[in-house]
């Protein structure tokens, strides 16, 4: 792996910490979404893939999870999680 993965993850984690915790655990989900995007980008750098679609899907998934977890329903779900 040419890229210093550990370093990337550290920096992503630090930067995610600056984003508002839109629902409990949002930063963690955001970090995972960013990691998914980077994995897709890396795969795309090796062989051509539908990268835009993949990245859009990750954004949509994160957004949908935000919609679900920050709304009333989401709030109740978060309570249940707790």
């Amino acid at each position: 792996m040419p890229v210093n993965q550990r370093r990337f993850v550290e920096v992503f984690r630090e930067t995610c910490a600056e984003v508002p915790e839109r629902f409990p655990g949002y930063r963690h989900v955001l970090l995972e979404a960013v990691a998914d995007v980077m994995t897709a980008e890396r795969e795309h750098s090796i062989r051509h893939t539908q990268i835009q679609q993949k990245v859009s899907d990750v954004c949509d998934r994160l957004g949908d999870s935000l919609a679900a977890d920050s709304g009333e329903e989401g709030g109740q779900r978060a309570k249940r999680k707790r």
């Binding site: 792996m1 040419p2 090796i46 990245v55 949509d60 709304g71």
Partner: protein, 714 residues
């Protein structure tokens, strides 16, 4: 990644060869000893082919023959070619439960093969190669699905030039044979590839586009025309911002190139001016020639004057002035004594005519007194012709003397002046002729350096730079305006979307995309800001170590740096810039590029073998040893192809650090260089386990047996 073992079959002269590499962390060095024409570069290419296919061969491999050049066609027209490389891959994985990073090691076998069918001695057809990647497990090696792609996850193809190189090729980062822009691109590419900047940048672009797509769904989400317009505006501004940023980078690069070009032209002008400005020289030559011509005309005139002096009446006086003076003095003395002019003859004749002497004696013919006076007159008449001549001469002499003494324009002074003028002119002409000759030679020496052309070129470059600065100013102003507009559009979007109760789904997706964009963009900025200075610091450290320079002492080289514009530069005392390609010697240049590669490897955390062909060429003594030590201590695995002369003076380091040493010999070197008949029917590379202290029946070269530093290995 660490190489464990490699086997070559019919790859050029590597007909059948197997080698093992050192995988020890304590002794990461593998030395492959080989003289020139013994397969070092072939092996480097073969390793690259195994890992990267045709991309790993020179010029894409189309014209690079893989089969042995002396392949026996009677044996088979089609040659099977294989390289099998066993390697281990260590990687870190974060345990999501504990957050700990765990190191794993897996062993793989990369196996690439092809065939070449010989059409004629100069033509062959290569079949498409096939590649398998196999992972070692308890059951042996099992194929990894998507072999080549799986390998790329371990070692990306764009890293091959960094990890597989030779002493000369590595210099491409600093060579002056290519433009500064091209050098920067290479340095930038190496850094971006290894540190993953490109991946971050494309991720930013894709997430940004995803955000734009979400905004594009406003209409379906119940957004009004106003909101749709804002969405379209944001999307448009994002495109404009990206374009303007790109353009700004391009202009920045062009400006840097322009600065270097102008500097280069100025240096040429300075060099040409030091020798002499050709135009100015020609002007000077012309003026000297004019001066010479007028001096020659003057000389002709003076020569004519000089010649005229010889036709003047005053010539004899002038020429005989000394004698005239002496004669005048003598004649005046005669006059003073009364010897000239003589006046007695008329008186005596008068007495004879009167017939009476002044004493009263009658003077008659026959009288003794008469006869005496007559004889006296005759005697005096004879003497008076001389006296007359002397008297005349005295008069003439006095006239000439008067002329000589009184008249400035007299012949003597005239001659003196003319001669002086003539001498002066002749000396001047001689000087001028010399000067013209020198100028002629200088002008001839400068046939190619047209200072006027260079100045014109500089003027044009400066003009282009001015235009670029102006373009950049305009572009940057546009960029700032777009960014402000975008900020405003984002605010408009926030206000309008709140009012319109846009569907929660769209809002959340947009928020998510914005958050992701912020995280990746900020991370990229943070990584870029910290990693490049780190690469620079490591490069500086390794480089100074390698060239044994202590900036605290009196070292000429004080610092090496990768600048933010991706230049590799070196600084001397008083922070004076040294051009790596122009001002460093061959050893330091190689050391600098190796230091750069090692620094990049260090910062990226990449664990891959550094395979370097002839890295110690042009080096000697302490620098060679330091380069070797530094390279060993900062490599995960180091494979060096070294000639005997490169090994010289480094034996102790190799004794201590090398985990594996092998020697390659070429059967083609028998009998001139190899002592023993290898018994090979065809040319091939042979290997043995001899180190730099040994020789054996396979590798013994002429003179080895007499070399007390070598011993026979049986």
């Amino acid at each position: 990644m660490k190489f464990r073992r490699v086997r070559f079959k019919n790859f050029r002269l590597l007909r059948d060869l197997e080698l093992e590499f050192s995988t020890s962390d304590e002794h990461p060095l593998t030395v492959i000893r080989a003289e020139n024409e013994t397969g070092k570069t072939t092996m480097l290419n073969a390793l690259q082919w195994a890992l990267f296919g045709n991309d790993g061969l020179p010029d894409g491999g189309d014209l690079y023959r893989l089969h042995p050049i002396d392949w026996d066609e009677s044996q088979a027209k089609t040659v099977p070619i294989e390289v099998e490389l066993e390697f281990e891959h260590r990687y870190e994985r974060e345990d999501k439960k504990t957050g700990q990073w765990i190191e794993n090691t897996e062993v793989y076998l990369a196996y690439r093969r092809t065939t070449e069918t010989i059409v004629n001695p100069n033509q062959w057809n290569r079949a498409t190669d096939s590649f398998d990647l196999m992972r070692k497990s308890d059951r042996g090696f099992t194929p990894v699905p998507g072999g080549e792609l799986a390998l790329r996850q371990i070692l990306e193809s764009n890293l091959k030039d960094l990890f597989f190189t030779d002493g000369d090729r590595a210099l491409s980062f600093i060579t002056s044979e290519i433009s500064v822009g091209e050098k920067r691109k290479r340095v930038q590419k190496a850094i971006r590839d290894l540190l993953g900047f490109d991946i971050l940048q494309t991720a930013i672009s894709h997430v940004r586009k995803a955000g734009a797509e979400i905004r594009g769904q406003v209409k379906e989400a119940g957004g009004t025309d106003d909101l749709q317009k804002v969405a379209a505006r944001i999307s448009d501004l994002e495109t404009k911002i990206a374009d303007a940023e790109k353009r700004s980078d391009t202009i920045e690069l062009q400006l840097s190139q322009m600065a270097v070009d102008i500097d280069s032209v100025e240096q040429k002008i300075a060099v040409a001016s030091a020798k002499g400005d050709k135009e100015q020289l020609i002007q000077e030559l012309r003026s000297k020639r004019d001066e010479l011509a007028s001096a020659r005309t003057l000389l002709d005139r003076v020569r004519r004057d000089h010649s005229a002096l010889f036709s003047q009446e005053a010539l004899p006086t002038g020429l005989l002035s000394e004698y005239v003076q002496r004669a005048g003095a003598m004649l005046n003395e005669l006059k003073a004594k009364g010897r000239i002019p003589r006046t007695a003859i008329p008186v005596l004749q008068e007495r004879l005519e009167l017939g009476v002497c002044i004493c009263g004696t009658k003077l008659e013919p026959g009288h003794p007194t008469y006869e005496h006076i007559k004889a006296l007159i005759e005697e005096q008449q004879q003497a008076s012709e001389t006296d007359d001549r002397l008297t005349n001469l005295r008069l003439i002499a006095n006239q000439r003397i008067a002329l000589l003494e009184s008249d400035d324009e007299a012949w003597g002074s005239g001659v003196k002046k003319v001669v002086e003028r003539r001498n002066e002119l002749e000396a001047r002409i001689q000087t001028l002729e010399g000067e013209v000759k020198v100028l002629d030679a200088k002008v001839d020496e400068l046939p190619e350096t047209d200072v006027a052309f260079l100045r014109d070129h500089r003027r044009k470059l400066r003009q282009t730079r001015e235009n670029l600065i102006r373009d950049k100013g305009i572009n940057d102003a546009d960029l700032r305006r777009y960014q402000q507009d975008k900020k405003q559009a984002d605010e408009d979007w926030a206000t309008l979307s709140k009012k319109q109760k846009l569907s929660r789904r769209i809002q959340s997706r947009l928020t998510a995309a914005d958050d992701m964009l912020a995280v990746i963009a900020k991370s990229y900025a943070a990584i870029e800001q910290s990693e490049i200075p780190q690469v620079s610091d490591y490069m500086n450290k390794y480089f100074l170590e390698m060239i044994v320079a202590d900036p605290q002492q009196n070292a000429i080289i004080r610092k090496a740096e990768v600048t933010s514009s991706y230049d590799i530069g070196v600084w001397g005392p008083l922070d004076r810039y040294l051009d790596p390609d122009r001002d460093l010697n061959g050893a330091s240049r190689r050391a600098l590029t190796l230091a750069f590669i090692l620094a990049l490897t260090e910062v990226s955390g990449t664990k891959a073998p550094n395979v370097i062909d002839t890295p110690l060429g042009m080096m000697s003594g302490q620098v060679k040893q330091s380069v070797l030590r530094t390279a060993i201590s900062h490599s995960t695995q180091l494979v060096l192809f070294l000639t005997r002369s490169e090994i010289r003076d480094c034996e102790e380091i190799l004794d201590k650090e090398a985990g594996v040493v092998v020697t390659l010999s070429s059967s083609a070197h028998y009998p001139k260089m190899l002592r023993n008949d290898p018994g090979a029917s065809w040319r091939k590379v042979l290997s043995c386990k001899c180190n730099h202290h040994q020789y054996c029946a396979v590798c013994e070269r002429t003179g080895d047996a007499d070399n007390s530093a070598l011993s026979l290995r049986k």
